[in-house]
Symmetry: C2
Subunit: 151 residues, 2 copies
DNA sequence: GTTGACTCTCTAGTAGCTACAGGGTTTCTA
DNA sequence: TAGAAACCCTGTAGCTACTAGAGAGTCAAC
């Protein structure tokens, strides 16, 4: 299987596959005489695992841990449970943060229901209100989950 | 006011202030003879506006638009409304995505309630199940809102 | 034999900072 | 007044997880 075939089979861009190889997420495959990468079935399985985890918004570091655990069948899966619980915690916390954010934004939006000059715009003066605290989301350290905007 | 004072007053790291200047978010301030930046009150106000918007998870591009609108008092604030509505849309969509994600993760977590060998771990085999679709979040294009993980 | 699709490596760009390195300036204290 | 500490300067590289391109080589079909 060449890289293009693997890309199609896993719905992953070719560049991403090469990137995963550089990052040690995928093992280095064999090569043809012409220096093309040659993949086996197990590469596909591993890649699909990675893509599925990424689809669950896990970081590559988290995926690395899971791969390591998968590769060492003697270990117990307590660590897997732990990692998953933590990840669920991240997601739940982010949802709570975003709910607060949504509420704040809607309140701000309320302050201007019509089209006026920017000078009188309630929204801008609301946003300019320096007595306000910086919203909570900024106070947090950055994390690894994907951001809100999606287009 | 020197950069350190501005940093304290706005709870913003010094490097971030210089970064905003490079990005054209903050206007270039005056300089002392020793080449230190000198800020006035209006710099502080502008910076607080920026930080507040960033705290609302707006992108710097969105902030740039708002600043432009603030700077042109002749324009009406229809654009402000529009921008805010779109941003609220981003946030609401991300919340919906994350709720789906949370549900999926909890289902996966359910498949392993106890500590077993990794070979038998229901979670790993669940994640490895290649018949599964890549979760929806991966199908989306990336956006600008902060990711889920936060420590 | 040549066209086109595919692949290769290497590099740079994305967002929004953050963290140095290697200097200069100012301020405080002895 | 000397020296140290605290501040400031520019410039560059790093972070995540890719993505996009340049410039070149390989392979299959016609």
């Amino acid at each position: 299987m060449k890289i293009g075939d693997l890309a199609t089979a896993s719905a992953t861009p070719v560049e991403t596959i090469r990137y995963y190889e550089r990052e040690g997420i995928l093992p280095k495959p064999g090569r043809t005489l012409g220096n093309y990468r040659v993949y086996e079935e197990n590469h596909l399985e591993r890649l699909q695992f990675v893509r599925y985890c990424r689809g669950l918004d896990m970081s590559l570091d988290e995926v690395r841990v899971l791969l390591r655990l998968k590769d060492s069948p003697d270990e117990n899966c307590g660590e897997v449970n732990l990692l998953l619980d933590e990840h669920i915690g991240h997601v739940s916390r982010r949802i709570r943060e975003l709910r607060v954010l949504e509420k704040q934004l809607k309140e701000i939006r309320q302050t201007c229901g019509q089209t006026r000059s920017a000078e009188q715009c309630g929204i801008l003066s609301e946003l300019s209100n320096t007595s306000q605290e910086v919203p909570a989301t900024l106070a947090k350290k950055k994390g690894h989950l994907r951001s809100v905007h999606s287009d």
